[in-house]
């Protein structure tokens, strides 16, 4: 089959590009739509931002994504808008006029990415106040204009009424529905195979038949295996079209996140559990990455610095894995065996994660420590859940990212807290115990000693917070 998608209402058909060819290269070098730029080729700078639309009811759900790490077959059955889709010459859109009038470009190289990102924020109603504009552009880097005039342009834009694009979207939806195929989408080119099932049973069968295949969901990590590590993948299975994995379901005491739920979708539901989850997710990668990256991917890749696993481990999450017809579950912390090694058999995939809601006698906090506030990898991610009986700690779950080869609980520190009040003395004992639990690495993000101090500092901050003492920088600055 060929990869087919809509670009400005016209069908683009691809038959010969390798499955790991990126959308950015195709736009720039095949279609010669060169307004979309390559800055970093790793989903960090946002210069390649484009909008991808998917069927959602009668309309289209648009989201901004990084074209540099999006594989072409992932666009199959979707609609695409690039900066060329907006205004040009004398017929600029209000957004472009705001940007041009505000002096929001200097060298102009990051500008098309900012335009597309702000456009997506506008279209989805995400722009309101200054902070909202900053959040929307968290995944876009500018290195000469300065963010000031760009944020001003975003604020200008927020005052413009949303365009009514429902008629246009309905037309796009009709075209997508007509083009939509059923079952496993199979794309083969350049001697490499791409398989993309649309339901979980087909996924289980496909993976069982190709247990050596590489699974890809949002490609926010796998994309870099191609663009940065130049690895080759003979068979890839795309799980991003598997509808069954893209829902959040409510249980009586928990939420079930399908593995294909994006970080952006997850953030809204995690916020219901605790505001710290919302805040960490606000700072988790950049906007475009959160639009694409998935809960399942962040867990399954086993990274010691993924932000979700420590938070979910602290909450007591259960991981559901499927292989063929067989489903099993295990505590999330047990999934991570060692650096680069997870408890996942060939042909087995992450299907869902169950996240318990907080009980009345439970206290929770999560802190992300990174050099840069937005869109940065954590030096330490600390997440804590304490169960209290009166003021005595009866159970503790302290989970950390960035402290070991895997996301990991601090068993000794937990033991130091249990059976006594969560007071300064308890925190001091737990801080000492953290040195038994972890021998962190020295690396570019932080020294081992800094990591240990920061981990202990987070615990102390949690204590102060529970005691009602202002402890966040916004509270004390």
């Amino acid at each position: 089959m060929t990869t087919r998608f809509l670009l400005d209402e016209a069908i683009v058909e691809i038959a010969d590009a390798a499955p790991t060819a990126t959308l950015l290269d195709h736009l720039r070098y095949r279609l010669r739509r060169t307004g979309t730029k390559e800055g970093c080729a790793e989903g960090d700078c946002g210069a390649c931002t484009v909008l991808v639309g998917e069927l959602a009811g009668d309309g289209i759900a648009w989201r901004a994504v990084n074209a540099c790490i999006l594989f072409l077959p992932m666009l199959h059955g979707k609609a695409l808008l690039t900066v060329e889709s907006l205004g040009a010459g004398d017929a600029l859109t209000p957004l472009q006029t705001c940007m041009a009038a505000n002096g929001s470009s200097q060298c102009g190289f990051c500008t098309p990415g900012f335009v597309m990102q702000l456009y997506s924020g506008w279209r989805t109603g995400a722009l309101s106040d200054r902070q909202s504009v900053k959040d929307v552009i968290s995944g876009n880097l500018c290195r000469c204009t300065g963010y000031g005039p760009i944020v001003e342009a975003g604020l200008d834009l927020a005052r413009h009424p949303l365009p009514d694009s429902s008629a246009e979207d309905a037309g796009t939806a009709k075209a997508l529905r007509a083009a939509r195929g059923e079952g496993v989408f199979r794309y083969e080119a350049d001697g490499r195979l791409w398989l993309s099932p649309d339901n979980v049973d087909d996924l289980a069968d496909t993976y069982a038949a190709h247990p050596d295949a590489t699974l890809v969901a949002g490609a926010t990590d796998v994309g870099l295996w191609v663009t940065k590590q130049h690895r080759d993948f003979p068979v890839m299975i795309d799980v991003s079209r598997v509808e069954d994995l893209r829902h959040v379901e409510e249980g009586p005491h928990s939420l079930f996140f399908g593995a294909g739920v994006t970080h952006r979708e997850a953030r809204a539901r995690l916020a219901e559990i605790h505001p710290d989850l919302d805040e960490v997710m606000r700072r988790f990668a950049g906007y475009q990455i959160r639009n694409t990256g998935t809960v399942g991917g962040n867990i399954a890749n086993g990274s010691p610095i993924g932000d979700l696993p420590p938070m979910l481990i602290a909450l007591g999450a259960n991981l559901f894995l499927r292989r063929g017809e067989a489903m099993r579950n295990l505590p999330l912390e047990d999934f991570f065996i060692a650096y680069g090694r997870q408890d996942r058999a060939p042909g087995e995939f992450v299907a869902a994660v169950e996240v318990p809601l907080l009980e009345a006698n439970e206290r929770f906090a999560a802190y992300k420590i990174s050099k840069r506030l937005d869109s940065d990898i954590s030096a330490v991610l600390a997440a804590f859940k304490l169960t209290l009986d009166g003021d005595v700690v009866t159970a503790a779950r302290l989970a950390f990212g960035g402290m070991a080869g895997t996301p990991k609980r601090a068993a000794a520190a937990e033991a130091a807290l249990i059976g006594r009040p969560f007071d300064a003395d308890g925190v001091a004992r737990a801080a000492e115990a953290l040195r038994e639990d972890f021998q962190p690495l020295d690396d570019l993000r932080a020294s081992a000693d800094y990591r240990l101090q920061a981990a202990a500092g987070c615990l102390e901050r949690f204590r102060l917070q529970l005691a009602g003492v202002p402890s966040r920088i916004e509270e004390v600055a």
Binding site: C40, V83, G103, S104, S105, T227
Partner: protein, 336 residues
């Protein structure tokens, strides 16, 4: 020790704390050139619509070769031996260049004369270019570069300012030429001050490159002794910067038009073609130019038949003994 260069700014004035609250004075008369006036960026509309064209947005000439720069994985090491024979034998490789191929001065630095184009016997930072490989595709060039066998002898590395100073002290040298900027008599002012606060501030500031691909594209002119090179904005670097630096006598045209709206002098400095071609870029592209008739290469020490070229310095001029080929080079920073 070098003599200290002193820049004396004269007497210090007195600034009261109230000055901190004052708005800067506005010019009374309207200044020429629009200073103080909001003026729309000439290219603003093209930037926001994606119509503004950068070098990598233009189609390549047919046959453009891609060049990859192999880089040092070591912060500081002596290169005992560097065997590039396997690189030269690799599929698609058209030519391989290293320090010994630079006919002029192996240096692109604008001031201190201490930035080799290619490492020569020693590497001084991770990412320092060792050699360049040209092939029809970037993939081939990159794969070939991996075949080099480099034997390093690790040397102690200074990666912080303090370590750098300590190394220099141990060698009885200054880290940089001493330079003092003086405003009034600081020592006397401190001695007479009611409060003295001591401390040390480190900013972690870095000199960064722009976001866009570091790219240059060079191709030969009709007489073959001029090669036109463009940087990422499409500015011309025609002769002087490349030619003089590399030992070619003739400068053709200006160093750079400088009419692109980057607006920052740093760009000019960083985009001097040799820098682009040799250091800030990870790879280049070159064109065997069928449209160019045979050209003799002044720096060619080895002429291989027909399509393979052993060129002294790619972006400037060169070619083959047989039908002329390679006359264009294009550089760009690729993904890794």
């Amino acid at each position: 020790m070098d003599e200290t260069r002193v820049q004396d700014r004269g007497e210090a004035g007195t600034v009261g704390t109230e000055a901190l609250d004052e708005a800067p004075p506005l010019p009374q008369a309207r200044l020429k050139g629009g200073v103080g006036q909001p003026i729309r960026h000439d290219s603003g509309s093209k930037h926001v619509s994606g119509e503004a064209r950068y070098l990598d947005d233009d189609p390549e000439l047919p046959g453009t070769l891609q060049v990859y720069l192999a880089m040092s994985p070591k912060a500081h090491a002596r290169i005992r031996a560097m065997d590039l024979a396997p690189v030269r034998m690799a599929e698609g490789v058209v030519c391989v260049l290293s320090a010994e191929d630079v006919p002029g001065i192996n240096d692109y630095s604008p001031v201190f004369g201490d930035d080799p184009i290619f490492a020569d016997g020693i590497v001084q930072f991770v990412g320092q270019p060792l050699f360049a490989v040209a092939a029809p595709s970037l993939k081939q060039a990159r794969a070939a570069a991996k075949l080099a066998v480099v034997d390093y002898e690790d040397l102690p590395a200074a990666v912080t300012m303090d370590e750098g100073v300590a190394f220099a002290d141990a060698a009885g040298e200054d880290l940089l030429t001493p330079h003092e900027m003086r405003l009034g008599d600081a020592a006397a002012a401190l001695a007479g001050a009611p409060h003295v606060v001591e401390g040390r501030v480190e900013t972690g500031g870095q000199d960064h490159f722009y976001l866009e691909g570091q790219i240059a594209y060079a191709w030969p002119q009709e007489d073959g002794d001029q090669v036109r090179a463009l940087d990422r904005f499409g500015r011309r670097h025609d002769g002087e910067a490349i030619g003089l630096r590399l030992g070619f006598g003739r400068a053709a045209g200006t160093q750079a038009d400088g009419d692109v709206e980057a607006g920052i002098a740093q760009v000019q400095r960083m985009c001097a073609a040799p820098r682009l071609l040799c250091h800030s870029l990870w790879c280049w592209r070159m064109v065997p130019s069928a449209w160019c008739s045979a050209v003799r290469c002044a720096c060619c020490r080895l002429s291989l038949p027909t399509k393979i070229i052993r060129a002294g310095w790619v972006p400037t001029r060169f070619t083959a003994g047989g039908p002329s080929r390679l006359l264009s080079a294009r550089c760009w920073r690729a993904a890794g």
